[in-house]
Symmetry: C2
Subunit: 762 residues, 2 copies
Amino acid sequence: MIRRFVFGSPLETDSVIDKPAVCAGELQYFEKHENVLTFRMGKDDIVYGLGENVRGINKRGWRYVSNCTDDPHHNEGTVSLYGAHNFLLIEGPGHCPAGIFIDTPAQVSYDVGYTRSDMLEIRIDNEDYELYEIDGETPAAVVKDFRGIIGRPYLPPRWAFGYGQSRWSYLSADEVRQVAAGFQGNQIPIDSIYLDIDYMEGYKDFTINRETFPDFEELVSEMRAQGIHLVPIIDGGVKAEEGYEVCEEGLENGYFCQDENGENFTVGVWPGLCYFPDMLNEDAARWFGRKYQFLLDKGIDGFWNDMNEPAIFYSGRRLNQLFAKMEDCVCRRHLLSEDRVPAETAAAADTDGAVSAAGSFEMGSPELTDTEERSQGTIIASAAAQEPNDLHVDTAEAAGTSVSSLEAADTSAGSPKPDDIIADGLRAADISSYYEIRMMVEQMEKNPEDYRSFYHHYRGEKIRHDKVHNLFGYYMTRAAGEAFEELAPDRRILLFSRSSCVGMHRYGGIWTGDNSSWWSHLQMNLKMLPSLNMCGFLYVGADIGGFTGDVTEDLLLRWLALGIFTPLMRNHSAMGTRRQEPYTFAHTDAMAGIIGLRYRLLPYLYSEFMKAALNNEMYALPLGFIWTGDEIARRVEDQLMIGESIMIAPVCEQNATGRVVYLPEEMKLVRFAGTVLKEETIVSAGHHYIPVALDEVVFFIRRHHILPICPGGKNTESADFGDISCLHFADEGDAYELYEDDGISREVTLKGHIRRIGPDAC
Amino acid sequence: MIRRFVFGSPLETDSVIDKPAVCAGELQYFEKHENVLTFRMGKDDIVYGLGENVRGINKRGWRYVSNCTDDPHHNEGTVSLYGAHNFLLIEGPGHCPAGIFIDTPAQVSYDVGYTRSDMLEIRIDNEDYELYEIDGETPAAVVKDFRGIIGRPYLPPRWAFGYGQSRWSYLSADEVRQVAAGFQGNQIPIDSIYLDIDYMEGYKDFTINRETFPDFEELVSEMRAQGIHLVPIIDGGVKAEEGYEVCEEGLENGYFCQDENGENFTVGVWPGLCYFPDMLNEDAARWFGRKYQFLLDKGIDGFWNDMNEPAIFYSGRRLNQLFAKMEDCVCRRHLLSEDRVPAETAAAADTDGAVSAAGSFEMGSPELTDTEERSQGTIIASAAAQEPNDLHVDTAEAAGTSVSSLEAADTSAGSPKPDDIIADGLRAADISSYYEIRMMVEQMEKNPEDYRSFYHHYRGEKIRHDKVHNLFGYYMTRAAGEAFEELAPDRRILLFSRSSCVGMHRYGGIWTGDNSSWWSHLQMNLKMLPSLNMCGFLYVGADIGGFTGDVTEDLLLRWLALGIFTPLMRNHSAMGTRRQEPYTFAHTDAMAGIIGLRYRLLPYLYSEFMKAALNNEMYALPLGFIWTGDEIARRVEDQLMIGESIMIAPVCEQNATGRVVYLPEEMKLVRFAGTVLKEETIVSAGHHYIPVALDEVVFFIRRHHILPICPGGKNTESADFGDISCLHFADEGDAYELYEDDGISREVTLKGHIRRIGPDAC
């Protein structure tokens, strides 16, 4: 049962495309006080959902903020990642499973038992929003109802289920060829190689760096002939550069976001100073989406959209403020070194954010150096130079006040005198200057004030960015997705994004951003999968091996053993980190074996993905969704059901040679050493310690279920998906519905594509 | 068997105090090539040790660097924390357990199967060091031999085993009184309240802020009357301030570290510009240690030494470099805005690290503002403003090169012209300037160059700091510890430190620094305990609840349930984070109950601690130290033996209502709900799922073992340690050796302090 409520005059987000009539009654599960919704949680309630966020499958015990953020340091303290996924579901004894979806492009904050362990509080930063309460018999039923109103998830081509290799960056066509050769020479299957920002000329969207990729078109077709798709990145900002066609067109047509005065707003991203295309403006979006044709024409059939939170390294105006402050500081320093400066002039030099008019001074005055030398080792009393403590605790929230208190301390020391030197020629005012500059530098990136300083034209209205912040990545990806429907009507194009919002799931998948080469992030990868599925995102994956930091061989092997079950299976790593291609490690065979197993499992994985997408179901499920009455199963955070037939329980701890697995019911253990089946054993319900070697993959088949597999291959093209055999824990009469299609056509229905197979029939 | 080797002419560190004769033979376990030692690890070898470091009890699969570092962001990628603990132990099939200790004050790097999973490589940053190879029948025997040569660990007074409450900072005497009242009003036992930097006047060591602590001496005695010890912090740097006695004395006597020219080296720490006392200089150390008398005289009997890696926020000379660079940038900006500047002059403005002599200019030129306005929304081509990618990936190692490549890009653009504006009045050179400033700011703290810029006088030699870096915290704490032997000969003084090195364990304990309110850090707390014990550090603990970040009630409860078993049991949190005192949460009773249980367990915990210290044994042991042949036990990373009788298995995951515990043998499960015994059940060997509620503590008693407990109390003074009763899983004839003393005398021996008790005798 879905009840829709409308508060105020909400903006249409197109997150929900199948809206029920507005409900006249009261909210049934939540109490509402203005923009705050509360729910009193029972001791054993579990809160599922919230898509891309840190911590557990059960979101209780932390707070989260839907505020798409470019954050390269995910940890347990993180409250915002790249997506805004405002659906959650409360399941527990004594009440129906109940879901809530907040449809708003603005920030939403969730306190899921953080402040008070029994209280769920949702705070919406806007008075205008739509709200959906959904209840049902089971958590799966609630998800299905919700998914029904937000529309069918994006469907990638089948080749996008193959293994992808990425790195920031493969710097040249030759390096791409070397990577391909690395896979081929080591018999490691592969379907795609990703191109990060360096394939572009000066990081400019829709350009090719012809110095490093002189024969780009040839490279694309050469790779395709080897079964490898090249997947280039597209960034959210367009470089401000005279003569750069995309920029010129955007300026000419007024397609860029502007400030309060109607001037194009400048931000620094990879290319240097950029403009943001107004992705929310229909004309601009259509124009931007059409630009992808530049690469489609070169044979490209897959893209990843990045930096579309949108990320801001700095804004032009903030950079100007920094320079003004630097002038102030330099000026103050010189004034203080001069005997004759009256206090008023020195104070004037302190004016914030503007170029000071304190007068001229001689740069590099030899007197200053002299003074510095003379003062070495001497001490002059000063009560001023208290350090702002908060700067040294990034997590402390009180940071905002410290510069002003420094200024106060500075002023309280009285008029600066030429001789108030502490040591090394440094004065209290210098320490203060340093912390002012430091704070400005630290607050340069992603500054909230910058997000309040530019505007969109959205459905005829001029709207300040922060009011619709969470739509940017969504509408960028939608622009591409809608363009592809026109530009490539007969085939699916691979498309996924870093930033997202519910609604975007119809146009592309996501990868879960800049994670780290940490075991805890392998665990987080697992935990995020079902949460994302609930919110409509099915084509998802994390950077296998971790983006930042240095991977170890064992971590990569274990991560691959999870990664073979994620729809997007991509190994990606950052510049400056240890090389992460599977063939760079000692046990290349083990890597090849686990990746090879992915290809053997593809008939099942692809089938489960497509059925989940077409039936509004989940591909990866928490155990509590199946065994709702099993108190232990409900709390399991490191095992998942993948589709209807198999339960996975990856080894997620370093140096572990096995792990304890909980079986809610009798299942069949299946052990693969790479692509080779090694063991099938029926295991009773309960906890079991299961040894799992680094080159092995162990999973469990449910009773009455069937797992269709194929012989695999070096890529999806060479794998024979028609040559099906079955693993099963089934009896005569049990059956599996295998979904089969050509893997590329856009017209996708279950009808005509389902083949029923029994345990013996394969 | 211990074999000692001496290479080159090592400095004496006093890490080892009972040195065997130098061995003439070859290394038996390690291959040595110059300063690199290697050991080929078997598949099932476990590497124990390395004290204070991240990751597992088994250190395999990562790299570590002994380089005492003030790092407030511990995560899986961290290679250096606050200590330098150069002992490790390899245990596995086919060879004796073998330990190695590198005795050097310089950096040592460990690659424990990071680069190659089977290779342990140790790299010493110095040609002069001593090396000890130790083997024995069991891992415990190897540790015991090693501990034998490094001397008896520091023994705190018994009251230091009580619960301590801390925060950065309790800002006034009144706030301290409120905290005490918070505990008393909620019947939560407590023995100590910690004073962080704000009790001092301007963060100056050995001063009292009389505005906020006007009646400090009265406060101390008032608290003592309530059974509460106040424990103030002492920092490693001394404020540079005229008239500040400690500073004046240090200057007068030449006790501060000096630069290459013999000038006192200035660094910024909490008080602003400071000098470092030369803790390695015997006279300076003796002087500094004697300074603690200032607080002893006020009734203080416990201290924590902080910032003694030593931490550096900035150095005076680096700050001057920043100001010079800022002048350069400001100057370049102005020069670029003037038509007539020849290229040579502009280039001169680029000179690094010195005040430019490029000539004078008018500050706040109205033309500049004009230009900025006119240029809005226009684009001028520039090939220069490539962003230095690496700045955006903190973990990337290649960062060093980006500024210079920026400079190159800048220069290649040719002579600056007045009109090369990209947008918003900003030029390519401005972007370059910004990244230069940003990099200087980012590299201001803990800059390696600063650690190479000052000197110690150590045993008659002038030695550059980086050569002896790891001794600073050790010698600061030793200075205090040795002073206490003279100043308080009849009683033990509580003393622990943030930075440490093997050898310091004889003078003080450690807390494990600025952790976070993360579940993974609760786990890390557990894993570090045995590693620290191996290196001699027995009086240890982590900041319970986590220092940075916001704790949740459940995390604090679970952390307390581990914390009651750590010798140092202190709750500490950072300014700006959520309040973390137990009485600030809803379930104060549960907090009081778990802390109360600590006091019930004290007869056992104190006894096990003292026996371990006096017998060179471990207080907290990995399961693999006891059940060496049990392959599952050897891999357990989240359970410990605490002393001889009990095994703990804390719940370390959020929202878990229990956990799987591995029992290597039949044991007796003991369940407490707070101080109340709820269950005693004999549990068979193997894996078991054990429910554990948030207010409960569950542990396991070994067969033939006895656990003496007492009735507890509101503090150690009021607890009657003579009123012993026993929990046990023992038969007639089994016995426990209870260590008892007055808890305060310095003269400590086993003789005369051991009472044998049987299961029924209590």
